[in-house]
Symmetry: D2
């Protein structure tokens, strides 16, 4: 049974900061957001977690393996190197969406995202070492079948992008509604979903739904492990097996 | 009348690279993609252009002001600092989507995105200096009304994210279909669209459509200038005017 | 008694790479070198170590706490994100210079720094967990007395720089000769030395030597701990005590 | 005749910032300093200039081609992305050291480097476009003969480093005293000097002096052009000619 530790990362008071005293140059905001995300990806990734860029001012991470001290050090590192600070809410639950709900509550209870007095919050209980198992994190790595052949090499890039977006939007809503899973576009034609235990048949249903709803053809590799890093790498390898054997759903075990 | 110069940026042979000889660590791929985007944002932004991350392996830029030499230098800078190289296709047209179509054709004519022999393509004719005017680039900066109050401080972050995504997906399809415009989510609750000339009434219709279709309330500031940098900053200021005066659509002129 | 684990980091085949097929743009090489150093600083720093930029193509790190697996992961992360790869040699000894000698031997035995066939070497035995103590790493943080008042606010910046350089060069040679210590300029007017056990009187002698030889006045804070991170922070606090109490040498214990 | 535009870059109030409220983690300071330098290298380099890291809190740049507006935009970009701000002093003179003296005076007149009220100064007159020539910037690129064979593959890395440092220190003092030139270590075994007009014989004397004083053998390529970028690339090519033909001094013309 999964036991996902989710951390919600929120940049403190970001909206007001971007327009004070005057609106700041967009290219600098994009650079700041992307590099902060890249650094968090490394800081969390070096401790076996995964971070998804989500909305950039709010990011969602799978942090099984990171305790309170690790979260605190990451906050400190951001404070030392960026003109903004970040708040963290942590939740743990079999259901990723419920875990995220707990994480969100912690931040909302502390104050608004645009309350200049609310900074560097760190709340929530990480999963204790003694309670961790090899089944805690389950990640599903989806990609679009033959995206390059069907889209990238044929359509105007924006129309390819619209197709990928439609596929992602359908999948994200379906997985949230049917399984309480959280799905994230990670570039190219790839989506990684943070899931509870889901059967092969249920994954096949999800792909079928997306094919029928928007005409986008997906395949998926699934990995389950103690950490996001291991579950994610297992999912990538399972996806390669789909590619080699022409199957639609593959598990790492 | 607008005359948008669009550059399509494509990482050469990226799909195969990410899984050769074995699938590479996801956190490193995320870091690589984000930092490459951040660097391109600076390289293009320092020449008055804008870059949108789009799918990360394919990025769309508004490059009025960058000639062939500038594109070539940017390519060289990427080659010197990254383990991948990039190809550029350039198009120019009143309609942003048509300009992107030209840019895409240039790359597709040169070969597949996954053809290892196709690298560092640079094709297309930038807008000559003598043909440039103060009306060339029109950018519309949309944001969601009271996103923090309605969503961020109330809902589970993923459900806030789903709302913002739905709003973006509706807007992107509508603007593409109705106006040949290209819309990009840029973080938070913000979308920037690259547009041809559109009237205030037509912008109001776009916001109305999104409100009726998915219940997301938008406001928009519009700027037109010689470069993306100037048009974008004008759009930001127009958006601030919406905020101050409670209006839904504001132009910089 | 100290037991310093030193890792020598060497960029593989860098000299030839910088001029093949043609000399590469200096600003890009500077950007590449600095960012690689910054990333290694984070990767090693997140595991309680320190990295010194040294010559940029060769960097020296204090890596107590990093085992072979951690070194391997850092190598992999660099390979995934940079156009170059790195080799690591690891040595452990009471004397930092001897530890570095062992580390260097490991790399030299494997082949020349410019041998294109020698890449991603990883040799040497990290200090086993069971053998680690709270005395393993001793760091001394030197800075120049009133550098801002005496130099920065008075002289032409290059002449200030020459003074700081002379102070550093004298200190580095003295500490190497007298104590087998490795000293590194870390910016501003600061030097951090990796030392064996040295008495307060010996530190005072070192400062006296530099004052007599080149007229540069130093003070120093010393910290000893299980890791570079902890020893370094203790040294910083000791240096603050020098500042507050007007002393020249302070220890953390 | 040269006409060097030198900009002194100083991080505002950095010393106090690094220890307030408590001393900050060294690895984060190193990361911040290196990345700020890398970004300035790109921002200035994209406008044909060069930046040298010097002391990191004080950096020296050759900025022929950058006007006041360009300096201002770079300051703004740093403010938008870093937790610190920078001040600029600009000087122009045939002699690089005199130009730097003017630049330094501008900052010193405005207030101390550690005066928290002195931020984002921008003073000094850039070289007007009409006064620029193809002879304005002269750069000499030195490197150590067979550093890899003699040192890197033979000695303990720190002892190699000491040799390179000694060679650099001797060269920097000699070039400053004899020619008012500013010399900077740029990694590996390379030094780039910003010079006034110097003859081949005088460069040979400089190398001879360093050989006699500290036993380090140098060769040098010299380039002169309108900008640092062009002069520097010409110097690199001249250095390659030294390598191919076994000479000690080569000019690009």
């Amino acid at each position: 049974m999964t036991n996902t530790q989710v951390t919600l990362v929120q940049i403190d008071n970001y909206g007001p900061w971007t327009v004070t005293p005057e609106p700041r140059r967009e290219v600098d905001l994009q650079t700041l957001q992307s590099r902060l995300y890249a650094d968090l990806s490394q800081l969390v990734g070096n401790r076996e977690g995964y971070v998804f860029f989500t909305r950039f001012d709010n990011m969602i991470a799978v942090t099984n393996g990171l305790d309170t001290a690790a979260h605190s050090l990451i906050q400190e590192s951001v404070r030392n190197r960026y003109p903004v600070t970040v708040s963290f809410g942590i939740g743990v639950h079999e259901s990723p969406a419920v875990a995220l709900g707990q994480a969100t509550d912690h931040l909302q209870d502390a104050g608004s995202a645009q309350d200049s007095g609310r900074t560097e919050i760190l709340r929530g209980e990480p999963l204790p070492e003694s309670a961790r198992t090899e089944e805690d994190v389950s990640l599903a790595h989806f990609d679009v079948n033959d995206a390059t052949g069907k889209y990238t090499d044929q359509l105007n890039e924006f129309d390819t992008f619209i197709h990928i977006e439609q596929g992602y939007a359908e999948l994200m809503r379906y997985m949230r509604r049917a399984h309480d899973a959280l799905s994230f576009f990670v570039g190219g034609d790839n989506v990684i979903a943070v899931c509870p235990d889901i059967t092969a048949e249920e994954y096949a249903d999800a792909c079928e739904h997306v094919r029928e709803a928007v005409g986008v053809d997906l395949k998926v590799g699934v990995g389950t492990a103690r950490t996001a890093q291991d579950a994610g790498m297992a999912a990538k390898h399972a996806l390669e097996r789909c590619r080699r054997e022409g199957t639609a759903v593959e598990f790492d075990r």
